[in-house]
């Protein structure tokens, strides 16, 4: 059921646009040759998706570490649920909240009050980045928390008993052992970001647009399905290539770690 429509998209991408807005089947690479016309969308996605993923990682990791290692066991579950809950509620309304906060009378008005004037936040790449971090932070915290929570706390004690300083314990024991969680979190967030539409549409205000926005435009507004299919196929292929390379890297990293532990 999922494969058939995807195949149709693939076939359509080699077709031509029909005068009525449909697709005339053909075997032409014309649509792919035209891809550079949407270069800006790909460029924005390929810069903001990795930056967003990394920023979410840097904000999420200390929180996950706090929840898994430092927090009181009695509060752990509740605190974790509090992180996850926003993720399950409507992303539309959560992004809308940021329009409200970043818009003219929100944070810029507060900043004006302290003396910083003329700062424009909404409809900038920064606004999109904030929306991305806000939207996907829970998805990043959860897998990292799971990997840190599974970690045997005796390893940390052993390390400090052997005279390692706290930051050395962290770098040499905690961080390597939490790599699977980091890898899962980054991959989940990155994949979802590649197809993101809502956050750039709402917080980018038509200035910062992703491939997802180009797709909505091509399928729903200009109804150029053949070209839209080509863009969609390219997006999926780019995504698959990046994910495959990424998985290779991670598993190699994991393999090297095992060698070390055997020694």
């Amino acid at each position: 059921m999922l494969i058939i429509p995807l195949t149709v998209v693939f076939i359509f991408s080699f077709g031509e646009r029909a005068p009525s807005g449909g697709v005339v089947l053909a075997l032409t690479v014309e649509q792919y040759v035209n891809l550079p016309a949407r270069w800006a969308a790909f460029k924005n996605t390929m810069t903001l998706a990795p930056i967003g993923t990394l920023s979410a990682l840097f904000i999420a990791y200390p929180l996950a570490y706090f929840l898994a290692v430092k927090s009181h066991p009695r509060w752990k579950t509740i605190l974790l649920v509090l992180v996850i809950v926003p993720f399950w509620t409507s992303i539309l309304i959560r992004s809308y909240a940021w329009i409200f906060l970043l818009g003219g009378r929100g944070i810029p008005a507060l900043l004006e009050w302290v003396g910083i004037e003329g700062l424009r936040l909404i409809n900038t790449p920064f606004a999109v980045l904030v929306g991305i971090i806000y939207g996907y932070l829970p998805l990043m915290v959860f897998p990292i928390f799971v990997s840190l929570d599974k970690l045997d706390k005796r390893l940390l004690e052993a390390s400090s008993d052997l005279g390692a300083k706290p930051w050395k314990t962290f770098l040499q024991v905690t961080l390597p052992l939490s790599i699977p969680g980091i890898a899962t979190g980054c991959m989940l967030v990155f994949i979802l970001l590649m197809g993101e539409y809502l956050i750039p549409a709402l917080l980018g205000g038509g200035k910062v647009f992703f491939v997802g926005n180009a797709l909505v435009d091509l399928f729903l507004q200009s109804r150029n399905w053949a070209y839209g299919s080509a863009v969609a196929v390219t997006l999926v292929v780019v995504m698959l290539v990046i994910v495959t390379i990424y998985m290779r890297l991670i598993s190699r990293l994991g393999a090297r770690r095992e060698d070390v532990s055997i020694m």
């Binding site: 570490y65 509620t89 409507s90 809308y96 906060l101 989940l188 197809g195 909505v216």
Partner: protein
Amino acid sequence: MRFYAICVYLFLYIPIGVIALFSFNAGRHASQLQGLSTKWYGKALSNPFVMDALETSMIVAFCSALLASVFGTMAAVALQGIRGPVRVAFDMLIYVAVMIPGIVIGIATLIGLVTVFDQLNPVIAAIWPVGFNPPKLRMGIGSLIAAHTMFLMALVAIIVRARLAGMDRALTEASSDLYATPLGTFWQVTLPMIFPAILAGFLLSFTFSFDDFIIAFFVAGSETTLPIYVFSSIRRGVTPEINAIGTMVMGVSLILLISAQLLLKRERRKSR
């Protein structure tokens, strides 16, 4: 460390809180708080467009959650009996279905359904009795339910499978040793045990379908669901009415989510 955690929690909850606070704004302007009142809730609830969209959303969410629970459970139970490469392939498919970005699912369903409809419509027109207007298949509530069901089935299947995996096999074996038919075993032993998981899957699916914007945006045709309505009004400007709708939607999803979590948790405790 603790200070940092508090900051992150503030970051997560301040925007939601601000929306909720401003939804009680008595003034006309969205961004200036002028006393508290619930008048925007009344306004939202008496707006016919909002109520229409809400009705569509409720119908779609209920039907697709119901269908997804039935088919997802069937898939999970069927997979239990299968071993080997077929099962691995299906497992992969289920996870892929959950991980694919919504926008791709939306496009794929749109194109798939339109292609099928284009083939079927002339056929229906041809076999329809002369003199009557033949019905035309097109995008609408039906296609919305179909798209959501397809995507949510996988979610229910994952939840139910987790429960099935934790179940004691001896129970079903005992049942069949006592001469229960496979169907009888399913109705009297398996189903009661996995029911909380199915119910939790139903509630989660309902919330997902109710909150979904991107898939609905592609396949809704001329129908408007609540998220689509909210999206198009946000584009026209920020109003206290949207704040009120948003707060209500958040509230409903929170209640459903917490119930689903409690169901899954109680069940986990019972199985220990």
